[in-house]
């Protein structure tokens, strides 16, 4: 905390009146005693004149003389901030407003010099205006005067008052222009980074500089150093000769923004770079690509290139017939291999990195020992320049393509030609070996790509409209990329033999192609001097690597890294860094994949829901159909069912169990007959002589029992229910001999006949004593009836007939319901079974 700000804290506690007065005059550029007096009398009338002196000599004041004093910059800014808040230094509501203070300053400084009034107006605007346009308007006339009319005093003024202005004023473009009018000041003051109008103006100034200077640039693994000494520089480039130097830089990243850097001429400036190539743009618009490394091959056009597996060395073939082994980390040439008598068109490295194979315009291939630089073997046989070579994965054989239109397979151990493959109608420009070692690709001037199979002959892949100059196989061995003079690349499906994608963007012939180790990016070099990186999957061009000054003839990927090396007719090899590019691509890919996964998951969820809904609907439909079918079947079954089986249930009982008989009739007619299980297949009919609804006529010439007997025989009923308690009933006599008693009662007769007919007979005996009659005359009859009932039961039991006992009517009804349900079910099932048998038989 500065002294002034500490003073504010102290004064706020012990002399708040001084702070009040300081706030009242804080808008002023300078503070005369008269201003102090007026401010005190107008805004703080209760404060005495001593406050003026106290402020005058307080630590808030930066300088003072008998004419005026000036507040410390930071104190003034803090006081203005508090003033703007409407509070005083103690946090209470201020006794006066910002407008009040401004009015006093305006009044006292009404005749003040313009510079004072301008500073105060700028201060006022910076406090009250939300935008900077009005501040700019205030300053622009000065810029006009300074630069149009040559009034440099305005520039000096800007530098002089710089520290006294509010930060917002200092940040304006117009004020920045004034500062930049004397740009030699950065040693003492950091000039603002140009933006907006300021940048436009500066660029206009720099664009008008006719002289140009050489800027030396050094490259470090993680930075570019601008303005290094020539002896330490990797590159030099031409920029406007200004002081300070203004440049835009951009790292190697997709959509990276330009960053303006400014530094004093003669000094150096370090700019951190994640990867190369970075780009430098001069103020006049020239864009330079700064690669990680450029290897100057001494102005010999590079024809062929191969990167060793160690990733640190590269072998180039030149138009002068030499090969050169390069250290990519230092850029030094380690060894020059001489022997070819013509340009070296193609180079390949044997997998062990110890040998290399080259193909030349002299029509030969040569096998080189990279340790010694000696020629191990010269392979002759082609009748024209060798344009392409490739070494088989086993390292023992090699393939070459020539302008004589043939491919030759070589035994590297013996130098023998193992096979000559002919068929192309033009020069073979490129060959590639598919990782399986059994198939090869050749690209030709005849616009075709051929896939060779030793067993079945070539397969022609046509699609390019001009010479196919290069080919590279993807790691999956099922796809290849070709580059053509028709300016396009094509992605081929080697299995189906068709073109999957065409990559367009180059503006001249494509001279070389390569594929990154992960098989996701294709690299193409072109006569348009560029190298382009393509996303194989989408076909999108990821980056355009520019920098070579002539045709790019070859490009190779550095194994196990994100770098590539290119060679050009301009005689240089360039090392490029693809890391951020691929990283961004991978990120984009992952994001895309994530998006696709999310989309797929969403679709799957939707499909699942839809399937679920469909399934439910189907189930519903099936259920409905099943229900319908069931209903239909039911109806059909009903239709097919035989007519309800008549089940006649005869209730046979004497009169003393009338309640039980009634309960039995209700049970059968009201419950069992309406039960679903029996309603359709059975038709229950209760028979009893006391049935009021019975169709049995009770004739006058006979007893009811007799009428019943004639109307229905118990043997005709399917079930006979006999209920007995204390009365057997009226004896049944022989009609022909009335003295002869056939049965003790009609119940006995019905039970006997039913049993004899094999019907279901349910016999119930009520336990307990029946009430005795009121008169003694009937007692003998009652006892006689009881003896008959007991005798009847004894006879039944003696014959092994089962009988059921019950306690009361409810107990009887429960047991009867249970017993009838069992029997009716059996009857129903038997009836249905018979019906089905009948249907089957039908």
């Amino acid at each position: 905390m500065s002294r002034a700000l500490r003073a504010i804290e102290g004064l706020a506690r012990f002399r708040p009146a001084v702070l009040d007065l300081a706030m009242a005059v804080s808008l002023a550029a300078r503070i005369e005693p008269e201003l102090l007096r007026t401010a005190r009398l107008r805004l703080l009338p209760h404060h005495d004149a001593g406050v003026e002196a106290d402020l005058w000599f307080s630590p808030l004041v930066e300088s003072r003389n008998p004419i005026a004093m000036v507040l410390a910059v930071d104190a003034a800014e803090e006081l203005r901030r508090v003033l703007l808040s409407g509070k005083d230094a103690t946090g209470e509501d201020a006794a006066f407003s910002l407008d009040d203070a401004w009015a006093v300053v305006n009044e006292v400084h009404k005749k003040a010099p313009p510079t004072i009034k301008l500073i105060e107006r700028l201060t006022w605007l910076s406090l009250t205006e939300t935008g900077s346009e009005r501040i700019e308007e205030e300053l622009r006339p000065l810029v006009v005067a300074a630069f149009r009319d040559g009034r440099r005093e305005y520039i000096d003024w800007a530098h002089r008052v710089h520290d006294r202005l509010q930060p917002r004023v200092r940040a304006t473009a117009a004020f920045g222009m004034l500062l930049w009018g004397r740009p030699e000041a950065p040693a003492t003051r950091r000039l603002p980074t140009p933006t907006g109008d300021l940048k436009t103006w500066i660029l206009s100034q720099l664009a008008g500089v006719s002289e140009r200077a050489t800027l030396c640039v050094g490259v470090e693994p993680d930075a570019i150093v601008l303005g290094v000494e020539s002896e330490q520089a990797d590159y030099s480039l031409s920029v406007p000769d200004t002081d300070p130097v203004v440049l835009d830089l951009r790292p190697n990243a997709p959509n990276a923004a330009w960053q303006t850097v400014i530094w004093t001429k003669g000094a150096s400036h370090r700019f951190a770079v994640d990867s190369f190539p970075a780009e430098i743009r001069a103020a006049t618009g020239e864009v330079y690509s700064i690669p990680l490394r450029v290897i100057d091959t001494r102005h010999s056009a590079v024809r062929g290139l191969a990167v060793l597996k160690d990733g640190n060395h590269a072998l180039s073939g030149s138009e002068y017939g030499t090969l050169c082994l390069w250290d990519l980390t230092t850029g030094e040439a380690l060894r020059t291999l001489q022997g070819h008598r013509g340009a070296v068109n193609a180079v390949a490295v044997v997998p062990d990195d110890a040998q290399a194979l080259s193909g030349s315009e002299d029509g030969t291939l040569r096998l080189w020992d990279l340790h010694t630089g000696e020629i191990l073997r010269t392979l002759e046989g082609h009748r024209g320049a060798v344009n392409a070579v490739a070494v088989m994965p086993d390292g023992a054989r090699a393939l070459s393509g020539s302008e004589d239109g043939a491919l030759r397979l070589w035994d590297l151990h013996t130098g023998e030609i193992l096979r000559t493959l002919e068929g192309h109608r033009g020069s073979v420009n490129a060959v590639a070996v598919i990782p399986d070692g059994r198939h090869w690709l050749s690209a030709s001037d005849d616009n075709t790509l051929r896939m060779w199979d030793l067993d079945s002959g070539p397969h022609i892949l046509a699609g390019h409209t001009s010479s196919v100059n290069s080919v590279a196989v993807l790691p999956d061995a099922e796809h290849a990329v070709t580059g053509s003079s028709d300016h396009t690349l094509r992605l081929w499906d080697l299995v189906r033999g068709n073109t999957l994608r065409v990559f367009e963007g180059h503006t001249a012939s494509i001279t070389a192609v390569a594929v990154t180790g992960d098989g996701r990016c294709a690299l193409s070099a072109s006569q348009d001097r560029s190298i382009r990186v393509w996303d194989i999957e989408s076909g999108e061009m990821l980056q355009n690597l520019a920098g070579h000054n002539d045709v790019v003839t070859t490009v190779a990927v550095v194994a196990n890294s994100r770098r590539l090396v290119s060679g050009s007719v301009d005689g240089s090899l360039r090392l490029w860094d693809l890391a951020p590019l691929l990283g961004a691509r991978v990120q984009a890919r992952r994001a895309e994949q994530e998006k696709q996964r999310a989309e797929a998951a969403r679709r799957a969820e939707e499909e699942k829901q839809q399937a679920e809904a469909t399934r439910r609907a189907e189930e519903e439909k099936q259920r409905a159909e099943a229900t319908g079918r069931a209903e239909e079947e039911k109806h059909r079954a009903e239709e097919e069912l035989p007519p309800p089986k008549l089940v006649r249930i005869l209730i046979s009982s004497p009169s003393d169990v009338a309640e039980e008989r009634k309960a039995a009739a209700e049970l059968i007619e009201q419950e069992l007959a309406k039960r679903e299980a029996f309603r359709r297949p059975l038709r229950l009919h209760v028979l009893g002589y006391d049935d009021l609804h019975s169709d049995t006529p009770f004739l006058a010439d006979r007893s009811a029992q007799a009428s019943l007997d004639r109307g229905l025989q118990s043997a005709d009923a399917e079930i006979v229910v006999a209920i007995l308690w204390a009365r057997m009933g009226t004896p049944v006599r022989d009609p022909s001999d009335p003295a002869r008693i056939l049965y003790q009662s009609g119940t006995e007769q019905e039970v006997e006949e039913a049993l004899n007919a094999g019907r279901e007979v349910l016999i119930y005996f009520r336990r307990g004593s029946a009430p005795m009659p009121d008169n003694d005359d009937d007692i003998s009859e009652v006892l006689s009836q009881r003896r008959k009932v007991r005798a009847f039961r004894d006879r039944l039991e003696q014959h092994g007939r089962g009988v059921n006992d019950y306690q009361d009517v409810a107990d009887f009804k429960r047991k009867l319901a249970q017993h009838l349900d069992q029997r009716l079910t059996r009857i129903r099932d038997a009836s249905l079974a018979r019906a089905r048998e009948a249907v089957k038989e039908a």
Partner: protein, 318 residues
């Protein structure tokens, strides 16, 4: 391949013209000056032993580094493209209206701001009269004293008159020009001019000191000289802070005791001392309150206040 003068074509022509067998070709080539052996095209190429399968590439010394490998020189990069740079100046650069130029020198920065005096303008004359008037026996004839003298049969040598306050004795103004009074220099100047109007320019003398009251500036202001008291009975007006103000790092600090000594010296010369002090009464030095008539030099001071401080005219002690 060629020697200095012989070309391969020459060899071919020789072989063709002489009908040389293959075995003779090498000899013919040698005779023609070819340094390298010519491969025997009729003989199958010699089979070499198999190459080592895997040999680590050692870091080879740059034994056959290209002879023309240069010292490191920066590679001149060419622009890969040219971006369009909006280098046109802002449109307003040609349409601005020039405002008054900011001043360049300190002289250009001077101006006379409106001045507000410390004393209220309507009160100033009364305050000054009240503060600086001394008592003079120049009033009406004091009849009571005449009667009293007659009753005592005392001769009346001087006509007794009642005393009245008057500024007729004038005033000696002593301006404290130390740094501590810097904010009030303009007020001091304004006060002197006002006193001239109220009391009369011929009745005031103005002295000023830079360090201590005993050493005042000479009239021309070029040197210091000893302070001299005014004639007996003439009031002395001190325009000072009585050492209340504390300017930072000022080399001219003044103690209250010095003002006490000054007051005693003036009293010895029967010169009443009045001090105009811009600080409030609570900050006045207590040990000076009896020796010096102190008046708060500020807007809140009235003539009545002044009368209450100094009475109806300063007493000129015997």
């Amino acid at each position: 391949v060629k020697s200095s003068e012989i070309f391969v074509g020459d060899l071919i022509r020789v072989v063709d013209a002489l009908g040389l067998k293959a075995s003779m070709i090498e000899r013919a080539a040698s005779l023609l000056g070819f340094a390298l052996p010519v491969p025997d095209l009729a003989r199958p190429e010699q089979k070499l032993k198999p190459l080592p399968v895997s040999v680590k590439l050692p870091a080879p010394p740059p034994t056959n580094r290209p002879d023309d490998q240069p010292a490191k020189t920066p590679i001149l990069l060419e622009p890969v493209r040219r971006d369009t740079v909006d280098a046109s100046p802002p449109a307003w650069l040609d349409s601005g209206v020039l405002r008054p130029a900011p001043a360049e020198t300190d002289a250009d920065l001077s101006f006379d701001p409106p001045y507000e005096p410390l004393f209220a303008p309507g009160q100033t004359r009364h305050i000054l009269s009240a503060a600086l008037a001394t008592r003079l026996l120049e009033g009406e004839i004091d009849g009571e004293r005449i009667v009293l003298a007659r009753a005592r049969r005392e001769p009346i040598r001087i006509v007794p008159r009642r005393s009245v306050p008057s500024v007729r004795r004038g005033v000696q103004v002593l301006l404290d020009r130390r740094d501590a009074l810097m904010p009030f220099f303009a007020d001091q100047n304004h006060l002197v001019s006002t006193l001239s109007a109220v009391i009369g320019a011929d009745r005031i003398s103005v002295l000023q000191f830079l360090r201590r009251p005993t050493r005042v500036l000479s009239p021309e202001g070029l040197r210091e000289q000893d302070y001299e008291l005014p004639p007996s009975g003439t009031p002395i007006l001190l325009v000072t802070d009585l050492a209340i103000g504390v300017p930072p790092l000022s080399p001219h600090m003044l103690s209250v005791d010095e003002w006490g000594g000054f007051a005693r010296r003036a009293a010895g010369a029967r010169c009443p001392v009045v001090a105009f002090v811009p600080y409030p009464a609570r900050r006045w030095p207590t040990n000076l309150r009896g020796a010096i008539n102190i008046v708060q030099w500020d807007r809140s001071t009235t003539a009545g206040d002044t009368h209450r401080r100094v009475g109806r005219g300063l007493r000129v002690s015997a």
